[in-house]
């Protein structure tokens, strides 16, 4: 006895046992580095190194409902309770992008990357090159509002760097971010930034054959628990709770399948379109996401310019409005323009003009306003040259590339890239380019005329003050007349920049309109009215045409994601709709199927076996208590059934009598990690936990029948073949804390993080053992 004790080793080397400030509710390991992201009870995100050094903390300000890493480990996706999906940089936590594909809380996230370089349908590899960087400097960034203190924006302060990083999606392998929300919507986005598909679980139907006739079935009152994409992106497994219903021939007729049918189900969705059209989707997503970045640059540029110009014009109008007041106070009936014209014509200065120039405005006032307007003009020109015009040019180039793709109908029509919509977007981009050019000319002209006007005013003031005026800047009398006639009470720059509800039309002279119409014969734009639109209006139309063009792939792909199969697992007690559902430990993973290693890679075969593991609540069946179930081969089943046999297998594992399962996670090489808590009825060791690893591929699986009727729960078939777990038989380790969910396991790094009820975090290396004598516990 004593000899046996001294030679025993303890598995799972404990690295750290650290106190926590808050309880943790979500934890995920980085797939590439030794980093752990955690979400606290008070909705902060912490990033820790393996050695528990904290890298950063961010507070999105809303409740965090889900979290997952990008497959390359460089970004993290955060789901919030208002449906926002935000991407954060791993280096500093700053916000890279926000997506608003959902309207309800995002329950779960899953981000999967293509597992290998696969050739397309005919075995040809299309090597695609993003040519933009060879012709244009790096993409322009969002202009910064001058004078803004850098601390005011928090994380948004550095957001201009994020475009550069996100735009480097050409270095990423093709990946899909799958997000599911409380309302049953499942959204797919390529690289996490380009929405490409959306399905609602309530609208999914799947056929079954019952009593010789085909029936359509669906799930109502569904609540999604977990989504998992296979590594070849061909299948999506969704675990959800809800009611199984029959969808009758009549549209509105819904009939309950049987009594007490609310329970946990697994759905298999066919997402093979992502694999079949991987190359095409990659290219479209790359161009389109870059275009959306640049569209944001354009929008912000227009907004910043509008604000700056409005500020400058307010300064001018605020000062010159007092001249109208002075004219009225002197009992005169003329307008300021008429007074200025009289002054220019050499007439005697009228009293209100004299008072305005000498007392109200003064030399200092003229110079100040002139400087403000000149500065604003320069700033607007800088924004156009550094941000707006480059962005519009690159947008035009990229939409030209997409137009080339859209003409390749054999490849791109199937994913919804529509040539006429892309052509329309191309034309709108061209029109916007012309509009930007016109805006620059208008801006130049306006700034010049204001400068000329102020030079003239300065000379007048000098004359009135009887001071020498030799050193004054020259002015042009004709320009002053034009200014007073066209610019004193009108603001063409503001009109081009302002977002207005009324349809303002820019005046076009007859000669220009004739030339535009004539240019249609030379390949110009068919829409000859575009010069009547403002710059902002043209931008809105361009944005709308792009949205329409990118909506088509989204709709096309969404329509091709279908539900293939359903697996009812166990009933759940029906809960009121408003209350939150009970939390069930669940883990879904895919392992390579060794028996299919020789299948040709370009064939869309299921090369991975799916494993679905979950805890069976004690309330479900009277004769199944304290058990964990592992199901495998669900996805294969729909293929195998056509050949007359079933690949679906399952096994029930009974947790030791003294323990309860807290959480579980599938691990590398077909293993599963269980986190157990000891029952508290034992007084001497109350509150202990236990972590255990076992091999799931070696368990005594039982083949499950696939009855044609789907109103049968699957699990009771297994109650006669329960396998019993013992602490001593498996690789396990006692934890001297009462443990809670979540259990964070990293298959790529071989580490696990366990959280104790007493606000502690314990980090273990799962691949290494520990000598008993050095046990710090």
């Amino acid at each position: 006895m004593e000899t046996d004790e001294s030679s025993r080793v303890i598995p799972f080397q404990l690295q750290f046992d650290k106190p926590l400030a808050s309880q943790i509710k979500i934890a995920e390991w980085n797939p590439e580095k030794d980093l752990l992201a955690m979400v606290t009870d008070d909705s902060k995100i912490l990033l820790h190194r393996f050695n528990w050094q904290r890298l950063w903390t961010i507070t999105p300000g809303r409740c965090i409902t889900s979290l997952c890493w990008r497959p390359d480990g460089k970004a993290i996706a955060v789901g919030l309770d208002d449906g926002t999906l935000s991407l954060h940089d791993v280096e500093n936590g700053k916000l890279l992008r926000s997506l608003k594909s959902h309207c309800a809380a995002i329950i779960c996230l899953n981000w999967e990357e293509e597992s290998q370089l696969i050739t397309d349908d005919f075995g040809h590899t299309s090597k695609y090159e993003d040519r933009t960087s060879r012709f244009f400097p790096p993409a322009p960034r969002v202009p910064r509002m001058p004078g803004l203190v850098s601390g005011d924006n928090g994380f948004m302060d550095d957001s201009e760097d994020s475009f550069q990083e996100l735009s480097n999606s050409s270095h990423q392998r093709f990946n899909i971010l799958c997000s599911a929300d409380k309302d049953g919507n499942i959204c797919f986005s390529i690289f996490g930034i380009f929405p490409i598909g959306k399905v609602n679980i309530h609208n999914l139907t799947f056929p079954t054959f019952c009593d010789g006739s085909e029936m359509s079935n669906g799930v109502s009152n569904a609540l999604i628990h977990k989504v998992a994409l296979s590594k070849d992106l061909c299948r999506l497994i969704v675990t959800c709770s809800g009611d199984l219903v029959k969808v009758g021939d009549d549209l509105g007729e819904i009939q309950m399948v049987g009594n007490n049918e609310h329970g946990l189900h697994c759905l298999a969705l066919n997402t093979a379109i992502f694999w079949n059209r991987k190359n095409e989707l990659h290219q479209v997503a790359q161009q389109a996401s870059n275009i959306e970045d640049l569209t944001e640059v354009v929008r912000t540029s227009l907004s910043v310019m509008c604000r700056q110009w409005s500020d400058a014009m307010n300064t001018f109008q605020e000062k010159f409005r007092s001249l109208s007041t002075l004219i009225i106070n002197h009992g005169l009936d003329s307008s300021p323009q008429e007074e200025f014209l009289s002054l220019l014509g050499g007439a005697r200065t009228s009293p209100p003009v004299h008072q305005f120039l000498v007392n109200t405005l003064g030399e200092v006032g003229v110079k100040r306003i002139s400087k403000v307007l000149s500065g604003a003009g320069k700033e607007l020109q800088r924004i156009v040259l550094d941000h707006l015009q480059p962005a519009v040019e690159v947008i035009g180039f990229r939409i030209g590339e997409l137009r080339g793709l859209s003409r390749w109908r054999a490849r791109y029509h199937g994913i919804g890239l529509d040539e006429s919509l892309i052509n329309n977007a191309t034309e709108k981009a061209g029109m916007l380019l012309v509009q930007v050019e016109r805006f620059m000319r208008v801006l130049s002209s306006v700034v010049q005329q204001y400068s000329n006007f102020f030079n003239w005013l300065l000379k007048c003031i000098k004359l009135l003050m009887s001071e020498p005026s030799d050193q004054l800047l020259p002015y042009n009398s004709e320009l002053v007349i034009v200014f007073l006639k066209f610019l004193y009470e009108q603001d063409p720059v503001k009109q081009l920049l302002e977002v207005s509800e009324t349809e303002y039309e820019v005046e076009i002279d007859l000669e220009t309109m004739q030339r535009v119409r004539e240019l249609v014969q030379f390949g110009g734009f068919a829409d000859t009215e575009y010069l009547r639109r403002t710059l902002v209006k043209e931008f809105q139309l361009m944005e709308l045409s792009f949205k329409e063009a990118f909506e088509m792939p989204f709709t096309t792909i969404s329509r091709k994601i279908l539900c293939e199969d359903i697996l009812p697992l166990f009933p759940l007690p029906s809960l009121p709709k408003s209350s939150s559902s009970m939390w069930i430990p669940t883990s879904v993973s895919y392992y390579e199927d060794p028996s299919r290693a020789s299948v040709p890679p370009y064939s869309c075969q299921n090369q991975f076996i799916d494993y679905i593991s979950f805890q069976v609540p004690d309330e479900c069946f009277s004769d199944i208590v304290n058990c964990i179930c592992i199901v495998r081969g669900f996805m294969h089943d729909s293929d195998c059934l056509k050949k007359g046999y079933s690949s679906l297998e399952a096994v029930l594992l009974c947790v030791p009598v003294d323990y309860q399962c807290v959480d579980l996670s599938l691990y590398k090489d077909s293993q599963i990690v269980l986190l157990l808590n000891k029952a508290t009825n034992t007084s001497e060791s109350a509150g202990d936990g236990c972590m255990m690893i076992l091999q799931v591929s070696d368990l005594p699986y039982v083949s499950m029948s696939r009855s044609a009727c789907i109103d049968v729960w699957r699990l009771p078939e297994l109650k006669d073949s329960v396998a019993y777990l013992n602490i001593g038989d498996e690789k396990s380790r006692t934890i001297r804390h009462s443990v809670i969910a979540p259990l964070a396991v990293s298959a790529s790094r071989g580490v696990a993080c366990v959280f104790a009820a007493t606000k502690r975090a314990l980090v273990y290396i799962l691949e290494e053992d520990e000598d008993e004598v050095s046990d710090v516990e």
Binding site: F122, G123, H124, T125, S126, K127, Y128, R131, R134, F135, Q283, G400, E401, L402, R403, G404, L405, R407, W408, R409, A410, G430, L433, V434, E437, R438, R441, E511, T512, R515, V516, E518, L519, Q521, F522, G523, G524, F525, L531
Partner: protein
């Protein structure tokens, strides 16, 4: 170009004429001759007094291109001579014009199947371009030499020229010309035997977005036809299951070639379509394609010189 022309009041008359000339050239390449000649008439009226030589030169270029496509070789040669006269008048000054004239001379000879003479002219032109460091023209002439050898049936001789042209394009970022050279390279590989069909198809698919997005009607049509040929030669390709791909490519090619009145390529497209429909057993469609093929062959063999009104100027 379009936005520069929209503000023509700010530029000089000769600059505006140059912009319009560029627009008409684009029109011919991308939309066909009918619209280009219509636009040319408008431009002639617009710039009556000044910049006459630019409009005249454009007219010559358009007519020559049109004659080549319609198979009117005598007219093409005549226009080429006119171009040569214009070019010789500006000795040592306008290298672009001399290069263009010589290039078109070689292409006219190629269309007339005078391969040796075409190669001699092209080689002489290459020496001149090399001497004066005209890099874009170097790549173009090398590509033309590759096409001469391809058409004369010497694919193995054409390959080095195509690869050399490709090398020039890579060095100087000439993406569209590179796509054109890659297409010629694919054709050369395909003519070396059906075992190279996969390689040729990979080359074509690599440059397909470039050609479809930025190439003219002729380049796009050629790409479609060569793609269809590769599929048909590929032993892995099942015509019965995937014939829509081939027919779709050929349909797009024939539509665009009609705009160009390019009878030779159009007849080739319809011939391939007829073959595909014959294999599929769709006799009605086959007869339709065969009729179109015959129409274009007849148009190619009987050029109609009389009813071209613009030619009567000369």
């Amino acid at each position: 170009l379009v936005h520069a022309t929209c503000f023509a009041d700010a530029s000089s008359s000769s600059d505006a004429a140059l912009a319009y000339v560029k627009l008409i050239q684009h029109l011919a390449v991308f939309k066909g001759y009918k619209e280009a000649f219509f636009a040319l008439k408008i431009a002639e009226e617009k710039f009556l007094s000044v910049s006459k030589s630019q409009i005249l030169l454009l007219k010559l270029l358009l007519l020559h291109e049109h004659a080549l496509h319609r198979g009117q070789l005598k007219l093409a040669q005549k226009l080429c001579d006119e171009l040569g006269v214009l070019a010789s008048r500006v000795t040592r000054v306008d290298m672009e014009l001399k290069t263009e004239a010589s290039l078109r001379h070689a292409r006219t000879l190629l269309a007339a199947n005078q391969f040796r003479e075409a190669a001699a002219v092209a080689h002489s032109l290459f020496c001149m371009c090399y001497k004066y460091n005209l890099q874009v023209e170097n790549a173009s002439v090398l590509l033309l030499l590759a096409e001469i050898h391809k058409k004369s049936g010497n694919a193995h001789l054409g390959l080095p020229y195509a690869l050399a042209s490709l090398s020039f394009c890579l060095s100087f970022n000439l993406d569209l010309l590179k796509a054109s050279a890659t297409l010629t390279l694919a054709e050369l590989w395909l003519s070396l035997g059906s075992s190279h069909a996969t390689r040729a198809l990979n080359l074509i698919h690599g440059v397909f977005p470039m050609i479809l997005g930025h190439g003219g009607l002729e380049l796009r049509s050629r790409a479609y036809i060569v793609e269809a040929k590769c599929y048909l030669c590929d032993s892995n390709f099942n015509v019965f299951e995937n014939y829509e791909i081939v027919v779709d490519s050929l349909s797009q090619a024939s539509e665009e070639l009609q705009l160009l009145e390019f009878h030779e390529l159009a007849s080739e497209a319809f011939y391939l379509m007829a073959m595909v429909y014959d294999k599929l057993g769709q006799l009605e469609e086959r007869e339709e394609a065969a009729a179109s093929f015959q129409k274009h062959i007849l148009a190619l063999r009987n050029p109609q010189d009389e009813d071209d009104p613009l030619v009567s100027v000369f």
